[in-house]
Symmetry: C2
Subunit: 158 residues, 2 copies
DNA sequence: TCCCCGCGCGCAAGAATCTTTCGTGATTTC
DNA sequence: GAAATCACGAAAGATTCTTGCGCGCGGGGA
C-alpha cells in the first residue's frame, strides 16, 4: 500500500466512476474513461492490488430494513494510554450496533456510527453497554434526523 | 420505497454478501446464498428497484490518494427554523471537502464528515468557509487518528 | 542519430457470466 | 377442490470477462 500513488487522469476517472457506481461493468467503465476494456480492467486490478480501492460495498437503506435509528456517539475515556485506547477500540468491534468507529483527537477520544432498530434498543445500548464500559468517561450522542449529503469518500481533482 | 419490506432469509443473505463485496458476480452470489443464478438476479433487481439497495460504491484509500486528513465537524446554528436548516444543508453540498453530512439532534445541529489533502487545507476550510458561513454558531472538530471499525451500514440478524 | 528496450494500448478469441424465456411445482385463494 | 399466483431452475443466446499477442510511443545508451 504505497503512501503516494502516481495516477494519471484515466485512473482518476476510473476511481470517480467506481465510487459512484461500484457495480458498473468493465465495458461501460472503459467506455466512460475513454480506453478499451482490457487496459481498463488491468488498471482496476492494479488499483485493487495496491490497496487504493479497498473494496466494494452495496449501500443499504437502513429505515427500509427496520433500522430506524442512526446516531453518532462521541466517547471520552478516563485514560488515554495506548493500551486503553486499543482495549476500547477492540470493544467497539464486538458491538453490532456500532457500524463504523474512529479514534479521534479533540474533545473526545472515539466517534461511533451506530445503527439500531429502534430508540429503545439504542438507549439500552448506550446506558448498559457504552456508558458502563470500563474506562468510559463521557458519552455524547447525536441522533440523526436525515442524511443531507452522501458522496463517496474522496473528492476528485477538477 | 416501502418503509417496511418483507424479506426472507435468502434476501438477507444477499444483502449481507453484497454489503461485504458489492462487485461479486451473480453466479458467485447465487452459490453463496443457495439458489440458482436467475432467481438470485431477480431478487437483486427487486432489492435495487425497491430502494433497499441504494447503490454500490468502491471504497477508496484516502491517504494513498493524498488525502491525509479525515475529520468530523459538529456544527451548531444560531437559528434552527426549517428554512435555516435547509439553507445550511444546501451549503454543505457545495463544499467538496464535506463528503457526508447529517442533520442531527442533540448538542449540535449538523455533523460533517470531511476529507482534505492536508491540515492547512482543512483549517482554512474550517475558518474561512465553515465558521464564517451565515448562521453558524459553534464549530467543533475531531480529527481522526485512525479507523477502528469499518463494517457495512446495517447489521444482520443472526 | 539510431537502435534497443520497456511500457501500455487495442484487437481477437475462448471462457465465464448475464439475462431472458419457459416449464414445473408449491402455496394460496376462492 | 380447482384455479391462480408465485418463485424456482434448466436452457440458450447475448453480453461481458479475461488472456495472449502484436503494435506504436517514449526513454536511455552506443
Amino acid at each position: 500500500m504505497p503512501l503516494k500513488a502516481d495516477l494519471d487522469a484515466i485512473d482518476w476517472k476510473i476511481l470517480r466512476e467506481l465510487q459512484n457506481d461500484g457495480r458498473m461493468t468493465n465495458v461501460e467503465l472503459s467506455s466512460r474513461v475513454g480506453i478499451s476494456a482490457p487496459p481498463c480492467l488491468r488498471r482496476v486490478r492494479r488499483l485493487e492490488e495496491t490497496g487504493i480501492i479497498r473494496g466494494y460495498r452495496a449501500l443499504l437503506n437502513a429505515p427500509a430494513l427496520g433500522m430506524d435509528v442512526v446516531a453518532f456517539c462521541l466517547i471520552g475515556l478516563h485514560h488515554q494510554a495506548d493500551a486503553e485506547l486499543k482495549t476500547f477500540a477492540e470493544r467497539t468491534r464486538g458491538w453490532p450496533i456500532v457500524r463504523d468507529a474512529w479514534m479521534v483527537s479533540g474533545e473526545s477520544d472515539f466517534l461511533l456510527h451506530c445503527v439500531a432498530s429502534d430508540l429503545g434498543t439504542f438507549q439500552t445500548f448506550v446506558i448498559e453497554e457504552l456508558a458502563s464500559a470500563p474506562n468510559v468517561d463521557t458519552v455524547r450522542t447525536a441522533l440523526t434526523i436525515r442524511r443531507v449529503k452522501d458522496e463517496g469518500l474522496v473528492a476528485f481533482p477538477a
